[in-house]
Symmetry: C2
Subunit: 218 residues, 2 copies
């Protein structure tokens, strides 16, 4: 189903100025795919609102989510001609799409965008390094604690419960665990009073930051 996204992209693109340069705004609904592994990589994107997951699939269905991108982050830029991972909206999201060719023009129009893109690529690489350490060397408890602290840090301005934008399955595929292990670990954290799960399963409150940070070794 291509609704708003296409309407906006095709007849008369809605060009937004600001951020860094000109871009085309796209509105995505929950679960909607922005691009898939193997698609031509003519565009790259910046998250305006909502959250995007980027993932890779093995032929037998095993999935690894490489990152959750929140507002302000740039993603989808490729070295080759095609995208090397899939990007989907976690819930509703809006993104600004940029033609990849923008970067190739040597006009200094694109100077600012270019710098933003390089900085963003380096930050993504940083995050990827950190995530490889988590995937390769941390225990299930450490992984879940790291994830919760990271999400709270990025989504929350202070204390209190907050709503995770992703399912247990997304969390599992991000942390290299199964949904059962994620669920069991959250239950254990609840029993140990590290967190509270107030009924609706995507809401969470971190109660014992100190203990969570101890689990989140570094």
């Amino acid at each position: 189903m291509q609704t708003l996204a296409n309407v906006i992209r095709m007849p008369t693109p809605l060009v937004v100025r600001g951020a860094a340069s000109a871009g085309v705004l796209e509105v995505l609904r929950k679960g909607e795919e922005l691009f898939a592994e193997g698609d031509a990589a003519d565009w790259f994107y910046k998250v305006m609102t909502g959250a995007i997951r980027t993932s890779k699939l093995l032929s037998d269905g095993r999935r690894q989510i490489g990152a959750f991108h929140l507002a302000g982050e740039i993603f989808g830029l490729e070295a080759g001609e095609v995208h090397r991972f899939t990007a989907e909206a976690l819930a509703g999201a809006t993104v600004l799409a940029f033609r990849r060719t923008c970067l190739e023009l040597s006009a200094h129009d694109s100077e600012a965008l270019r710098e933003e893109v390089l900085a963003s690529a380096i930050r993504s690489l940083d995050r990827a390094q950190e995530h490889m350490l988590l995937l390769g060397r941390k225990t299930a408890q450490e992984k879940v604690a790291a994830f919760l602290l990271d999400m709270a840090d990025r989504m929350l301005d202070g204390e209190g419960p907050f709503e995770l934008p992703m399912s247990r399955s997304d969390i599992a595929d991000y942390l290299g665990l199964t949904i059962e292990t994620v669920s069991r670990t959250l239950s254990q954290f609840t029993r140990d009073s590290l967190i509270r799960l107030p009924a609706a399963s995507r809401w969470i409150e971190l109660c014992n930051l100190h203990a969570l940070r101890q689990l989140n070794v570094s």
Copy 2:
């Protein structure tokens, strides 16, 4: 022992033109550290000869190697003021060092270097994505098969045995396994005639590429 490296680095830096821009050549001996996690990130590097490993350590000593960099690859560029991982030479290696400030000058001198750096960052991100999939979702056998095929592809121009530049411990820390599991998996591959280990433990020959590629799911 600081030999050529210091001679070159200190009195009158040997400036090399070519590649993309000016750089300072450094010679590293086996195991020598180029920079550590937390060091000021005033320089970034391009591998000229040999191989470099980049890694992160947890406080209790667990280590994750993020990448092995072979000739031609750029690494060590950071978003912040300090390096977020350690870089060490696997065996002897030479690298070209660039001042990070090169990139900040808007002169079009640095245009070409800048482009090379962005391309390199994107390629690194690509590799990181692929490696996260391996770390999070592949079995020990699949990890080792993927590693062997990748190394053979990067180090070898065709058939025949080749010498891995890294120890079992490096391989284990790269694949998120223990050295025992790496060793057992290589032994199993040998029993199954997928590879041959001709005495000297770092030499290896891939005998059954077809079977290895089947293990290396994608």
